[in-house]
Symmetry: C2
Subunit: 96 residues, 2 copies
Amino acid sequence: MRVLAGAWTAHVIWYLRGGERCFTELQLDIGRVSAKILTNCLRKLEREGIIARSRKSTSPPTVWYCLTPAGQELCGALVNLVDVAQRLKRSQIEIS
Amino acid sequence: MRVLAGAWTAHVIWYLRGGERCFTELQLDIGRVSAKILTNCLRKLEREGIIARSRKSTSPPTVWYCLTPAGQELCGALVNLVDVAQRLKRSQIEIS
DNA sequence: CCGTATCCGTTTGGATACTG
DNA sequence: CAGTATCCAAACGGATACGG
């Protein structure tokens, strides 16, 4: 839970589950997240070995992020959690 | 993730997975959590339909909490997540 | 026993401007 | 493009005192 803490951490992992994304793509995917927060998030996940960062020296330079094997395992559990959560949410809507 | 937000929310679900617990038991289980925070946490989870609250009019009165069916499903996903996380943690320790 | 109320410090995240 | 720096507001969480 400590790894997943923060309002946007799960989103980052979520949008990386399809493969590599660059900084701006992630920012657009998530929507309404400031560069500062996204950077914090990415640095934290990088330190924890969940994502990998690779700088391509093109012009203009882009930086790509992807899940490490560890990140993919974590993502699997996260997907499972989201799945359960959405199912429960649907049930609650039906009741109300 | 919104449901699981907060430093102690996951702990509450975690310690309720074995069955009913009263307020004080939960406080001892988790350790070093103030009554205020625990109450916040319990109220939030109650509103979200994850746990159920039942007041027994004994003397002194005690209040019992348990997971709802929805809470149990969520707990299952959480257990799975914890399982993955611990496996990853062990791997990292072996590498370092 | 099970909370609620209040105060207060810390952390978090957003807005904005700026750099290589 | 991909950040970094600064400032600021809101949320979070701990301590303590008190109430039903």
